[in-house]
């Protein structure tokens, strides 16, 4: 049985994601400038060539280490410790949900929902504390970003309600 815990052995696998993705993008980039006049192709070829050369150097190094039997393949390091992994994946899904709903719900409601669910997913046990935290932060964020700084972040039902109340009061 091989000595998996040996400090001399390198964990390889997930660290190939960045170079492989980089090479794929470089190929796509070169494809996108293929029809261009030579003058406009130069910088693209230069950068793609640079990235490709460096990635090939890394692959060559790994190949040598493999030949010497100093490499272990793994992909689990990417996902972090197994404890709470599902919650962390849920958090990523929540970010995706934020992107999908922010146009409809607007800043305050989306931020409230995100902070409420996000803090629970991140390990906060008390629902009441999560709600108080989410409400306080969302209102503070609304006052700071929308009212004070006037950013043009999408407005939703909450902002519409506040605007209506203000106009009634005036």
């Amino acid at each position: 049985m091989s000595d998996d815990k040996s400090p001399d052995r390198k964990q390889v696998g997930s660290d190939l994601i960045i170079p492989v993705a980089g090479i794929c993008y470089a190929i796509y980039y070169v494809y996108s400038v293929w029809e261009f006049p030579a003058e406009a192709q130069r910088s693209g070829f230069f950068l793609a060539g640079l990235l490709l050369t460096l990635c090939l150097l890394l692959f060559a190094r790994i190949a040598v280490q493999m030949a010497q039997g100093r490499v272990d393949w793994e992909f689990t390091a990417l996902l972090g410790p197994s404890e709470g992994r599902l919650r962390r994946l849920g958090f990523v899904a929540l970010i995706a949900a934020y992107l999908l709903t922010v146009r409809t719900l607007g800043f305050t409601l989306t931020t409230f929902s995100f902070l409420f669910i996000g803090s629970m997913l991140a390990g906060l046990q008390s629902v009441r504390r999560a709600a108080v935290f989410a409400a306080t932060a969302a209102i503070a964020g609304w006052l700071f970003f929308i009212v004070l700084l006037g950013t043009r972040f999408p407005l939703g039902p909450f902002e519409a309600l506040v605007a209506q109340l203000v106009s009634l009061w005036k």
């Binding site: 997930s14 660290d15 994601i17 960045i18 980089g22 993008y25 470089a26 796509y28 980039y29 996108s32 400038v33 261009f36 006049p37 003058e39 406009a40 130069r42 910088s43 693209g44 950068l47 793609a48 640079l50 990235l51 460096l54 990635c55 150097l57 890394l58 190094r61 390091a77 990417l78 972090g80 709470g84 919650r87 962390r88 958090f91 990523v92 970010i95 995706a96 934020y98 992107l99 922010v102 146009r103 800043f107 931020t111 995100f114 902070l115 996000g118 803090s119 991140a122 390990g123 906060l124 935290f133 932060a137 964020g141 970003f145 700084l149 006037g150 950013t151 043009r152 972040f153 999408p154």
Partner: protein
């Protein structure tokens, strides 16, 4: 300008305290929020700056600009998220210090280095303005290509534990930075057909994704930033004072790094991020304990913070002296000057010398005012590191996404930030330095522009890159940077084997 005139100018600038104090507070706050960099904040406050007299507007903008660079170091130290690109190098040692429960010490080092650097460089600039402005004339497109490649190689060599991975990260950043319309025919390249990427990768969403979102995802793996055993991080007033005074023992490094930042800042386009990494490398080379860098070393916080604040003064020099803005904030200031009908370059010194020197003096005064913020910031901000991550991580994502949206008001920028967040997360988990990717993204378009310009001037002859003395010196330094680490490793191996002594 003589000493009497400078004293008069100091008093005049100080009389605008009512504009400087709010600008300093806004600047520190905005600098600490990734995405709300000085130029974005100034753009948001543009109606205000256009409504007042030009000297008040400039004083306000300059104070805000300096304070935002000081503020950029705060999240870099406490949360591993640089508020500005210039603070990326601060994360290397600042964040490990926070993790060790030394957040207040790291903040004291950062604030003292920033303020001292600002005071030193603005004082030097007041006397040397006419000479410093000449530096910009010697840097042409050919030298800029080498400066940028040198900067990137330096970052890869310094920041990454594995040099080849650092270089891959930098090259990937350059590749992503070259996305968008090409500089000659304005035809889109590598944009996957998205119109929002036609102008290239937006920098703020890239910064927020690479640093803030990826960090938030990693934060979820632990309970707090500071280790539980070292979570007593709120120092007493006496301890705070001791930490602030203790920072002054690095005075020589502060002077050296700030002057380095000033000179690099004078070169248009080089910027705070390169200056900070160059200063970090210099500090490591001349340190008695270079092996401690990257593990929470005091010098690793002082050098980049002093350098990036030195740059703030430097970037204004080309604007004042030759009418070329040295950075994005200087470009916004140029718009305000233009609106008020103020001339640029040499004519400014002839027609309105008080205004020209007044800009630098305002900077000096702003840093003096910032001294009063030292105590409360150092003492109280360090508490952030013991706030539970189940509060911090969702809040970082929710609020920095607003920052990603602000510069262009495109909803697509939120998706771009999240995409860069995933790239950043994978990079962090697999040992690719995210700072190198970010600097690559920043330098990509600048490198491409200088590259194409040089090639056009030379009629397509690549030997043009070896045609200037400054450029050739930089090539040698670049080669030395790339060869230094493998050479040292080889020497150590040989020494261990007993082949050499």
């Amino acid at each position: 300008m003589n000493l009497e005139g400078l004293a008069e100018l100091f008093l005049y600038s100080a009389s605008m305290w009512w504009a400087i104090i709010p600008a300093v507070l806004i600047g520190i706050l905005m600098g600490a929020i990734p995405g709300f960099a000085a130029h974005n904040t100034i753009i948001m406050l543009l109606p205000l700056t256009l409504a007042v007299d030009v000297d008040i507007a400039l004083t306000f903008m300059v104070a805000l600009y300096c304070a935002s660079h000081l503020g950029g170091g705060i999240p870099a130290i406490l949360l591993n998220i640089p508020g500005t690109g210039g603070a990326a190098a601060t994360t290397l040692d600042g964040y490990p210090m926070s993790q060790q429960g030394k957040a207040s010490k790291a903040l004291a080092l950062s604030f003292v280095a920033s303020i001292m650097a600002g005071l030193i460089t603005s004082a030097v600039t007041l006397f040397m303005l006419q000479y410093l402005s000449q530096v910009g004339f010697y840097i042409r497109s050919v030298e800029m290509v080498v400066v940028m490649l040198f900067g990137l190689a330096l970052i890869a060599a310094i920041a990454a534990k594995d040099m080849i991975k650092g270089l891959i990260a930098g090259a990937l950043g350059l590749m992503l930075g070259a996305m968008g319309a090409d500089h000659i025919y304005a035809t889109p390249r590598g944009t996957f057909g998205f119109l929002e990427l036609f102008d290239g990768v937006p920098l703020v969403p890239a910064l927020i994704g690479l640093f803030a979102i990826s960090e938030a995802l990693i934060m979820l793996e632990s309970r707090t930033i500071a280790a539980t055993a070292s979570s007593r991080v709120m120092p007493t007033w006496v301890e705070t004072l001791r930490e602030i005074l203790g920072a002054f023992k690095h005075w020589f490094l502060m002077v050296w790094a700030s002057l380095l930042g000033l000179v690099i800042g004078v070169m248009p386009g080089a910027g705070a991020s390169i200056a900070a990494f160059v200063a970090y490398q210099q500090a490591r080379v001349f340190s008695k304990t270079p092996e401690k860098f990257g593990t929470g070393h005091e010098q690793g916080v002082v050098a980049p913070e002093a350098a990036n604040n030195g740059v703030t003064t430097g970037t204004l020099v080309p604007l004042l002296a030759i009418g070329v803005p040295g950075g994005s904030t200087a470009a916004v200031m140029m718009v305000v000057l233009q609106f008020h009908g103020v001339p640029f370059g040499p004519r400014l010194f002839v027609q309105d010398p008080i205004l020209a020197y007044g800009v630098i003096m305002s900077m000096f005064v702003a840093y003096v005012f910032m001294l009063v913020t030292l105590f409360p910031l150092t003492r109280y901000l360090s508490r952030i590191t013991v706030v539970a991550n189940y509060y911090m991580a969702p809040m970082i994502v929710a609020f920095t996404l607003v920052g990603a949206f602000v510069p262009r008001n495109f909803m697509a920028d939120l998706t771009i930030a999240v995409a860069f967040g995933i790239i950043g997360y994978v990079a962090r988990k697999t040992g690719y330095n995210v700072a190198a990717i970010l600097i690559g993204v920043i330098l990509g378009p600048l490198l491409e522009r200088s590259f194409l310009l040089s090639m056009r001037i030379s009629g397509g002859d690549p030997m043009v890159f070896f045609s200037s003395t400054i450029g050739n010196i930089l090539w040698v330094l670049l080669a030395a940077t790339l060869l230094a680490t493998p050479s040292i490793t080889l020497l150590r191996k040989l020494r261990r084997k007993g082949d050499i002594y």
